[in-house]
């Protein structure tokens, strides 16, 4: 029962799906992954994210303007106006400053949620895959159940009841995401159990936790890291969607989602309030996706062998 992979196995954006894209036939010369040079794209995406993180953390160094207070006489100035590189919003606040400080929120939420979800999911997947038995069956069913629950509806009901807060968002996102890691790592961990070196360690009398940490974990962590990159983008988009709907980060704290929500009322007069925050979300998600796709190929077990 537990060995049978349900047909819904391809539900997660796991390595299986992406690996099929590359998978050169054995002995093939074509090692370059897709998207032209996969490595170049992947590294470029990683560098972009790094630059974004530096800009977000060091926001005060790059802009002197405040993201919270604006000059009401300088409302809705177009990008390029002297002193305002990316223009101002409906309250005369500097859009560049708000984008940079907004990046802090988005990246923080994305990273923290991914770390919580990934850490928990990987642990659960490792243990249930390695031990099997009733625990594995119960957890696998729970994972199936949760995957068929529409995330946005779940997040909205939690946000509605607990009220919108940074912690609430992070917890909601982590809850929605951990099952993917559990499912991925469980499969890998299950396969590891039959490997000779794991059996050897077991025969030598190594305790289970030691086998898991020293022998199984290093072999399954790669695909999990690739998934983390893909998930970071998805969660950042989810956070901005929630903030956009008014159940995420609340104004006046700048977040890309609530900037879009406020800016859309001035769409006819100030296109940049609609275009720029969305561009930030899209580029971030695009980068994590490209990076994740590339990492998936790098860590694909089929290629390692």
């Amino acid at each position: 029962m537990s060995e049978r992979q349900p047909p819904a196995g391809s539900r997660l954006p796991g390595p299986k799906e992406a690996a099929g894209t590359a998978g050169p036939p054995p002995g093939a010369r074509r090692l370059r992954p897709r998207l032209g040079g996969g490595a170049a794209w992947g590294i470029a995406a990683g560098l972009f994210l790094l630059a974004e993180a530096i800009l977000a953390v060091g926001a005060p160094l790059f802009t002197g303007a405040s993201p919270l207070t604006g000059d009401l006489e300088q409302r809705l100035l177009a990008p390029g106006t002297a002193g305002y590189l990316l223009g101002t919003d409906q309250l005369g606040r500097d859009v560049l400053a708000r984008l940079l400080y907004g990046a802090r929120v988005s990246l923080l939420v994305g990273v923290v949620a991914v770390v919580i979800a990934g850490g928990f999911g990987v642990c659960v997947g490792l243990i249930t895959g390695y031990r099997g038995g009733w625990l594995d069956r119960v957890v696998s069913r729970l994972v199936d159940v949760q995957l068929s629950f529409p995330f946005m509806a779940l997040a909205l009901s939690i946000a509605a009841v607990l009220g919108a807060s940074l912690t609430g968002i992070v917890v909601t996102l982590a809850i929605s995401s951990w099952v993917l890691y559990a499912r991925l790592v469980r499969g890998e961990s299950l396969a590891m159990r039959q490997q000779e070196f794991v059996e050897a360690a077991h025969a030598l009398g190594a305790p289970s936790w030691r086998i898991l940490v020293r022998h199984v974990l290093p072999n399954v962590i790669g695909p999990a890291i690739a998934l983390a990159s893909l998930e970071a983008g998805r969660l950042i988009v989810a956070e901005s969607s929630l903030s956009f709907l008014g159940y995420g980060i609340q104004p006046p704290i700048p977040a890309w989602g609530n900037m879009l929500a406020e800016g859309k009322d001035y769409m006819a007069k100030a296109w940049w309030l609609t275009v720029l925050p969305g561009l930030a979300v899209s580029l971030t998600c695009l980068s994590t996706t490209i990076l994740g796709d590339w990492l998936t190929e790098v860590f694909d077990p089929r290629r390692r062998r």
């Binding site: 391809s10 539900r11 894209t21 036939p25 529409p150 946005m152 969607s241 989602g257």
Partner: protein, 305 residues
């Protein structure tokens, strides 16, 4: 097969049951329902009497049992805003969401399938590159931003389509495309991967060696064998679309289930919100069940114990 069917059905029921329990938990975390129902200036005595009358004074497990019992009979309580049965409100909105998601999935399949096949046949060439880049872009652009951009371009700037609402086919176009673009990316990517994998199979080489025409090979052998994962991803996209509709319907003022969820949460109309969320979860589980069964039918090689 019968056993498999039974276990899948049991899993669906479990999902529905857990969704119902989750709703109950949310309702209780939301605070004393009586306070939401009585006039603000009611006396403590009156509130207490109402509490007994409506059964909120009973032990929690009695209330839980009653909630489940009523829900099984289609009674989710009365909308606090419209003073109508919550279920009828939900059912009223259902056709609009069904229409929108159908158009989106149709768009994703009609465009994504040929695009993916084309990319696979022309692997490594310009068409493939374009399709691959397009599919990554499609998956990275958040739907709420895409929706706003389309409104900005076609409604605000060009004045071709009204910004929202439901009625003319043109009004269906923008939300349909917005909702479908992510799925389009996924369908293209997966179709390409599946077709590529089949193209490398021995029986395709055999078919060509026998002198079969390229179109025969493609339609008779390749597509038939590549269909499985494609059908799965289409089914999964459908359940994803229902969740995604929450955001898109809000942007385009589309009178569907998703907008009802957002509005009723805004007005703290919990019975309606929960009935709508519950209905969404049930629909998604049923689609998943259907997809799993279809998968088994399409692929006789999968033997269900």
């Amino acid at each position: 097969m019968v056993r498999y069917l039974a276990s899948r059905l049991a899993l669906t029921l479990l999902t529905v049951f857990l969704a119902l329990s989750f709703m109950f938990g949310v309702l209780h975390l939301a605070g004393d329902p009586v306070l939401l129902l009585v006039p603000v200036d009611s006396s403590a005595e009156h509130i207490e009497r109402m509490r007994v009358q409506w059964g909120f004074a009973d032990p929690l497990w009695v209330q839980y049992g009653r909630f489940v019992w009523r829900a099984c009979h289609g009674d989710f309580g009365t909308s606090l805003k419209y003073n109508l049965p919550a279920l009828s409100l939900v059912l009223e909105r259902l056709p609009a969401t069904a229409l929108l998601t159908s158009v989106s999935i149709l768009f994703a399949v009609v465009v994504g399938l040929p695009l993916g096949v084309l990319a696979a046949i022309r692997e490594g060439r310009l068409a493939d590159r374009l399709a691959t880049v397009g599919s990554v872009l499609g998956q990275s652009i958040p739907s709420f931003w895409l929706g706003l951009l389309l409104i900005l371009a076609f409604s605000v700037t060009l004045g071709l389509v009204p910004t929202g609402g439901m009625g003319t086919p043109a009004q269906l176009l923008l939300p349909g495309v917005t909702l479908g673009l992510y799925s389009l990316g996924r369908v293209t990517k997966l179709t390409r991967a599946s077709v590529l994998e089949v193209l490398r199979a021995d029986y395709i080489r055999t078919a060509r060696a026998k002198g079969a025409r390229e179109t025969t090979v493609l339609f008779r052998h390749v597509l038939k064998n590549a269909a499985n994962p494609i059908v799965t991803i289409i089914g999964l996209q459908m359940s994803g679309l229902i969740g995604g509709a929450i955001v898109v319907e809000t942007i385009f003022a589309w009178p569907g289930l998703g907008r009802l969820i957002v509005q009723s949460i805004q007005f703290r109309d919990f019975p309606t919100a929960l009935a709508a969320v519950f209905f969404t979860a049930v629909t998604v589980s049923l689609i998943n069940l259907f997809v799993d069964l279809l998968y088994g039918l399409l692929n006789p090689r999968i033997v269900h114990e």
